[in-house]
Amino acid sequence: MTWLNSHPLTFLVFAPALLGLLILALPNTLGRLSRLLGFMGALAVLVLSLAWLLGHSGAGATTVAEQAPWFTLVGLPVDYALTVDGLNLWLVLLTTFLVPLTMLGTWESIKDRLGTFAAMFLLLETGMLGALMAQDLFFFYLFWEGMLIPMYFMIGIWGGDERRYAANKFFLYTLSGSLLWLVALLYLANKAGGFNPAVMSQAASALPFDVQCWLFIAFAVAFAIKVPLFPLHTWLPDAHVQAPTAGSVILAGVLLKLGGYGFIRFAIPMFPAAAMHYAKPLALLSVIAIVYGALVAMVQRDIKKLVAYSSVSHMGFVMLGLASFTVIGTQGAMLQMLNHGISTGALFLLVGMLYDRAHTRMIADFGGVAVKMPIFTTFFLIVTLSSIGLPLTNGFVGEFWILNGAFLSGFGWGRIYASVATSGVVLGAVYMLWMFKRVFWGPENKDADCGTHHLHTDLNAREIAVMLPIVVLILWMGIHPRTFVAVSEAPVVALLQDAKAPAIRTFVLKPAVHEAPAADTAAHDAAPGPGHETPAPAAHEVHR
């Protein structure tokens, strides 16, 4: 037990993989047992992660870390370093939460090679947790790439009709982005003499600015593909549509988050000047992603593809928040990552439940589902509302913070971009509710070949048990978001301070002075450039 006490993170990261390998060793005939074993293991990891990690953060100290020298790679020391702190605590918990939940939610969906599937799932969990916790860039890189393999198999083996194309596309797309990044990583490690992020940041800051920019671009492209940021998003719809439900949930729920997480953990702190230099193009691409993803989602005929494109739009919000370089926007992005994990994960689960029954996902094949499956409809509606950011659900808080953060951003583009991005809120409602109307409402579709006709049963107890915690979280995050962002506030503030992010831009509204009317009572401020301090009116606390 003493080993466990000093190595909780090691256990959390590698226990799933060990169990996975064990399951792989079991004969194929024990598939059902393997499935159960995998689920119990994932559940245990969830319980332990909650107990250990929340316990630590409750005491005020939010960091759990393990560090030891590991090996040297061509003379460069690689550390075995795992950390859970304010920036990744909730993403780690999101992962440990979604894995068992998804296993339970797709219990009946997978029909063949149950054991292999469970093993892949557990290996994937190790990859994700490792990537989230690794505090050494080489170590991180290993997990980052390692994660691809189980996901590749999940899509390639258990996917839809075009699974091979989708799996290859997913793998090659991501890999090609990462290769450039690996070059940058090795270059910088060589300069720094190691893969420790702190040392590397220091080395990076000593480099000429244009070199920093190139390095940042290499990092950013790798992470942006994962997010995915327009125009690097086209692997996503294929991967989502072809992946089995469980794959889609984890892909949307956790893998995409790693892109955003990569920015806030590595790309931005290591190259703050370059990151701010490219804040505008990043924000522009984010705004395009928000609007573009929504417009394309609107014209989709396959529900799953619609949800996939909605991910592009929602993750655009995350990137906009990060690019704003404000506390409000960055915290909004942190929350929005969790929101998206919960809401979009839930949407994929729900679409999977519908597909399992009707064997189609085409919107036109449905109509009047509400009559046949009232419980399912209620859950779908709640998740839809969360996805379109209705107040008191999680979606609202994240988007609201991001938009306000972007609007207040110290960069000149903030106000325009934020205003344009709000149109994504309308379009989000358009594609989600229009789909909801066509699938669930209206007269029952009596066509014998259609989807509605094949719906005989509403959700069973297992499926309800999967959806209930999601609904609780949707409301909890919407009503008391502090639970989920309190720990990241201090690291985010520190990050932006270190980056010397420009102060937020306010409108200067000067109070009337009765003795001597001020001549400069201008309504609009004189548009100071980035980094320029703008005096805020009284009672307005200036924050970065």
Partner: protein, 636 residues
């Protein structure tokens, strides 16, 4: 007592949760008990809170319940403010809301979704109270979006039909467009004042120099007004309200007449000191209001569906309210909210009573002669009709007259538009009333089976009629010997935080008499015109329609705005989405960017594979060639 006031909004929420989760299991009487009970207790608590507030020296009761969303410099607490404005609105929502809940017991008693209906209605009351009582713009926005959701759910209540879901969707999306305006307006105000708390914004705004108004604040208030045009169905975002009549009639009365659609007016009153600083916005508000009042009223002239007539009437009356606000008559505009809540709710519930009696027939042309069959409905509808056409002495007269008077002081043209709209109102209301209750039955079969509604429906009608009559005491205009009580009452709220409240120009009493005489006489004239056109059936009006076929078709088809929006806005957007998808994603990014390199790599691979012939002599040849080249290079 104060420590229970948080229950005012929360009780209806609990009622909604109870009826939503357990409603199907517990049976109808339990649903009724909970659904009505929570609103009633809310009303009682509201009355008590109202009097507590009245007893406070500054007429403000501020209650805070901790932090909601805080990060960086952005703080939004959960908090309620009860002042004369929000207090009055709260009582309208819970009071009239309760009567409509009571009415629904009778109206919905045969419906399978009884529990679902009351769950949504309670949820609506919760969100509406959040909108009204919320201490910050963000909480107001919570309510703002929340009532939109309930409106969506209740319009689409008959979800297994074709039209109701479409109407619900339209309402929600059009409101969302407006909500974006509100969101942007809020962001601008936050960037300017550094807070979302309404009282802090007003205090800061009260200290601003007037010149400030022309820039940032004008933009902010215009954006907020965009939201108001959505929620309160003004030009150009009014299109959803007529369709919203697809919902059950009590919904139309509560949400689409008495409360939710007046949120836009409420918001402007709430932020009156900020709007006062922005004369451009005030002009826009006044002109949009006047334009909408007339525009909608002309459509109302020819509609056949009894609820559609009332819907256009609501849009038109909401236009009056905005006209009043734009003319700086915050009290006048809000007074019309108050009187309209009574008489329009009454009109809708009366219409519902008629519709039920006629077995869900909503076509005016098939009604007639119901006076004898439904005396209570007849008399209460008469009270409401007299009020809405501004018959002297009624509450509608008082509030409309005050608005028209202020409009005249702002611009005689606004007054003229308002009077014209009033003439239309008088005509279509008498048309509706005559076609429904007077003359001969045009559908004898339905007429034979018609009967007066049960007590649970007629009692609310009677109480609303009483309210319609009594409402006048709150604001009998000064020009006619009253003291327009509501103005003095609301002033602390509409001028909150202002250093020196502006005192509007108040003209002279003779002017008020002249204006009122003109508008009243014209109104009565058109009312008589409406009555005589329809008292003997449809022949007169059909002959008239035949004389002006183009105008008649234009009005009947609502100026073809819906068709135009579909053709010139929605279709291009869908087309654009398709182009983006097919051109960008499929052809450009995936085709050229991803699959082309993939294909090239394959071609290149196939090409190089040609050299892997597996024949030793080929390899030997290439080795020899390579060696020769190397030798040449190094030895040269």
């Amino acid at each position: 007592m104060n420590k229970y006031f948080w229950l005012i909004p929360i009780l209806p929420l609990l009622g909604a949760a109870f009826n939503g989760l357990l409603g199907k299991r517990v049976g109808k009487s339990a649903v009724t008990f909970v659904g009505l009970g929570v609103v009633f207790v809310s009303l009682l608590l509201g009355i008590s809170a109202f009097f507590v507030m009245k007893g406070m020296p500054d007429h403000r009761l501020v209650l805070n319940y901790g932090e909601w969303m805080a990060t960086g410099s952005l703080q939004v607490p959960f908090g309620m403010v009860i002042d004369p404005l929000s207090g009055t609105m709260m009582l309208i929502v819970t009071g009239i809301g309760f009567l409509i809940h009571l009415y629904s017991v009778g109206y919905m008693h045969e419906d399978e979704g009884y529990a679902r209906f009351f769950s949504y209605m309670n949820l609506f009351v919760f969100f509406m109270l959040t909108l009204v009582l919320g201490s910050s713009l963000v909480l107001m926005f919570v309510g703002w979006e929340g009532v939109g959701l309930c409106s969506y759910l209740l319009i689409g209540y008959y979800f297994e039909t074709d039209f109701a879901p479409a109407a619900g969707l339209k309402a929600f999306l059009m409101n969302r467009v407006g909500d974006v305006g509100v969101a942007i307006g809020m962001m601008v105000l936050f960037a300017g004042f550094g807070t979302f708390t309404i009282s802090d914004i007003l205090t800061q705004a009260g200290h601003l120099a007037p010149e400030v108004g022309f820039g940032v604040l004008t933009f902010a208030t215009l954006m907020l007004f965009v939201g108001a045009t959505g929620k309160s169905a003004q030009l150009p975002l009014y299109l959803w309200l007529p369709d919203a009549m697809a919902g059950p009639t009590p919904v139309s009365a509560l949400i689409h007449a008495a409360t939710m659609v007046t949120s836009g007016i409420y918001m402007i009153c709430r932020l009156a000191p900020v709007f006062t600083l922005t004369p451009i916005t005030m002009d826009v508000v006044a002109w949009v209001g006047a334009g909408t009042a007339l525009f909608a009223a002309t459509i109302g002239l020819v509609q056949r569906d009894i609820k559609k007539v009332l819907a256009y009437s609501t849009i038109s009356q909401l236009g009056y309210m905005f006209l009043g606000l734009g003319a700086s008559g915050f009290a006048a505009g809000f007074f019309h909210v108050f009187t309209h809540a009574w008489f329009k709710a009454l009109l809708f519930l009366g219409a519902g009573s008629v519709i039920l009696a006629m077995h869900h027939e909503q076509d005016l042309f098939k009604m007639g002669g119901l006076k004898a069959k439904m005396p209570i409905t007849f008399w209460t509808m008469l009270v409401a009709t007299l009020a809405i056409i501004g018959f002297p002495g009624t509450s509608g007269f008082a509030s409309k007259d005050e608005i028209l008077y202020l409009a005249y002081l702002k611009s005689p043209a606004l007054w003229a538009i308002g009077v014209l709209a009033a003439c239309c109102t008088a005509f279509y209301m008498l048309r509706l009333f005559t076609l429904t209750f007077l003359g001969k039955a045009r559908d004898p079969h339905a007429h034979d089976h018609a009967h007066e509604s049960p007590t649970s429906m007629t009692l609310p009608l009677a109480l609303l009629a009483l309210g319609t009559v009594l409402a006048v005491w709150l604001g009998w205009p000064k020009a006619f010997g009253g003291d327009f009580t509501i103005e003095a009452w609301l002033t602390p709220a509409t001028t909150y935080g202002q250093l020196h409240a502006a005192h509007g120009e108040h003209g002279s009493h003779p002017l008020a008499w002249v204006l009122a005489s003109i508008s009243t006489l014209l109104g009565l004239g058109f009312a008589a015109f409406g009555y005589f056109s329809y008292k003997d059936g449809l022949a007169v009006s059909e002959a008239r329609a035949a004389k002006f076929p183009f105008l008649h078709r234009l009005l009947l088809n609502k100026y073809y705005v819906d068709e135009g929006v579909e053709l010139y806005l929605l279709r291009p957007i869908r087309w654009f989405g398709n182009v983006l998808w097919k051109l960008f994603d499929v052809i450009l990014i995936d085709g050229v960017g991803v699959n082309l390199p993939g294909a090239l790599a394959r071609v290149f691979g196939d090409f190089t594979a040609l050299f892997q012939t597996g024949r030793v002599r080929n390899y030997a040849l290439s080795m020899a060639l390579g060696g020769a080249i190397l030798l040449y290079v190094f030895l040269k």
